[in-house]
Subunit: 339 residues, 2 copies
């Protein structure tokens, strides 16, 4: 044991050729005679030689990318990650993951450090980091390749290739669904002024109400976070202060699941006494009882797309990939009933 890893020169010596020839074989370059090629390949096989990535990286651009996110416990993240990974594996890239606290000042430093030290060649940014223009600019200045995922009906600017997800349209669609079923007092759970997705969904909710000729009732709009616990707490608060509400729009599935839980605790039957909808179509939205009516957000697909764009950006820098928008579809299950 403690055998040193074979290097390109070891292979060269055994094959009786120059180490440059070995390099050529390894990189599948032209102008190598079949004779040399087979001889070298045999030795590579024999020694189980594998080129040292680190050394290689000194001459070439990094073959790895970073996934930067903020909310480590959500399903959102793991689905995204899986999507990115499928793409990475296909293209032979490695993935470095980098959770971070977007509130902290460290973020900028950490990110520019990953780029600045040549660890990764590109970065996939998710909200809320992806919404900071200055951060994106800083990264770009360091010659990082950046792809960002944001909420919106179109990209906010032309800084970098962007994937935008139209929360507003979907928020409107699912609210309209509730209105169609006869609901008139629909609560919105999970409003958060600094959270673009929340805001988009909220705007869609307002638009649907307005189009239908109803006003937004302020006491039915509850602020909170995108978590189960927050969902429980918001629902309790709401049900205490209002008894006319017949439907709940949870800003994501976790909130909706929390609402479901709180309703159960209050002995309210869903959907008979109270209709509930979520947003995201995370796996557990079909595992609750009743299954949640929600909006399908194809996180893995979105992320895979982001990864594909980033990799193309790194490999063929001359051709900038286009932005890409995602429209979201309703998923009807059993948590809504007509009134």
């Amino acid at each position: 044991m403690a055998v040193k890893k074979p290097t390109i020169k070891d292979v060269a010596r055994l094959a009786g050729v120059s180490f440059k020839s070995v390099s050529r074989v390894v990189n599948n370059e032209a102008w190598v005679s079949d004779e040399v090629r087979t001889k070298v390949q045999a030795v590579i096989e024999q020694l189980n030689y594998q080129p040292n990535r680190t050394a290689r990286l000194m001459r070439t651009a990094p073959f790895s990318l970073a996934f930067v996110y903020d909310n480590p416990n959500s399903h959102y993240v793991i689905e995204m990650q899986n999507g990115i990974l499928t793409e990475c594996r296909e293209k032979g890239f490695e993935l470095v993951i980098h959770p971070t606290d977007s509130a902290s000042d460290q973020v900028r430093h950490e990110l520019t450090s990953m780029i600045g030290t040549n660890l990764v060649g590109g970065v996939i940014l998710t909200p809320p980091l992806s919404e900071s223009t200055t951060l994106v600019q800083q990264l770009l200045e360091q010659q990082a390749k950046v792809v960002r995922i944001v909420s919106g009906a179109e990209p906010p600017d032309e800084l970098c290739p962007t994937i935008y997800v139209d929360d507003e349209a979907a928020g409107q669609a699912i609210t309209e669904h509730l209105l169609d079923q006869g609901h008139r007092h629909i609560a919105f759970l999970g409003y958060h002024k600094d959270h673009k997705s929340s805001l988009g969904r909220y705007r869609g909710y307002c638009a649907a109400l307005h189009h239908a000729g109803f006003a937004v009732e302020d006491e039915l709009v509850i602020s909170g976070h995108f978590t189960f616990d927050s969902g429980v707490q918001m629902t309790e608060q709401l049900l205490q202060q209002s008894n006319k509400v017949t439907a709940l729009f949870g800003c994501n599935d976790e909130i909706a699941a929390g609402a479901l839980y709180a309703a159960r605790k209050r002995q309210l039957a869903v959907p008979e006494d109270l209709s509930i909808v979520g947003f995201e179509n995370s796996p557990f939205s079909r595992q609750t009882w009743p299954g949640l009516t929600t909006v399908h957000q194809p996180n893995a697909e979105i992320a895979a797309r982001a990864a594909a764009m980033l990799i193309s950006l790194m490999l063929e820098p001359e051709q900038t990939p286009k932005h890409c928008g995602f429209k979201l579809q309703l998923v009807l299950r059993d948590s809504v009933s007509p009134i």
Copy 2:
């Protein structure tokens, strides 16, 4: 834009010292005068110089580790990952994640390649990969540092530092809890002969029954996977073929959640008509209704420990960290009632 990243030599030139002195300052070596130190630091600041990791890596051991897993969608994985990440960040390591299909022959090649090409210096293995002695040996031969997480009351061998989790004792404890509540016909859902954790929990289940003087009823042991869907399906199968069963031991929380769902579908009240327990204490085990009685498996903590052991192994190779065992605790919630 397109400014080249400053190198150690750029700093040296501007500071009017040799680049070796800069290196010394960067690495906090002794024997550097305060004068040089402050001068260099000023220039570093000014240029925003960051040492190139790749180049550094050519002279030193890699500062990153790989997390290798097989079941990308489970909570288990994301919790583990978060645990590893906390540890990594603290120690300044980067994490490369590597999902893989343990059934495929590629695994060995992929792993030895990560090591062989110097991408990472160490690997954290989870089941079922961690159970392959030959894989561990292969990795070790490549001078990889390996820490593995396995199921068992003690490490299976002395190949590498190991974290072992005593599924059997916990499986026994939770079965005893059910027996204490008067249950006599307890089904075991999620038996899988190739799955060590499943097997351990199953052995605990059997032991509890035997100690209490009951036999294991074969028709109450259902084979399946650790997923929600499998849980639903196994429960349906079970309830069709037996009507004496009063309690269900789901081999993990997802199975238990599936069982809950299937019971609901059959109009069975939990826990009144049927008691259900899970295993793992994943977040959603307290988000179901009723909350699941389960076994707390501190995945993040386990993984953080693994990472800490691995890092120590990489940094101070002379001192091998000790194995480390985890005992699991019952979490009593509302999915069990006395009979």
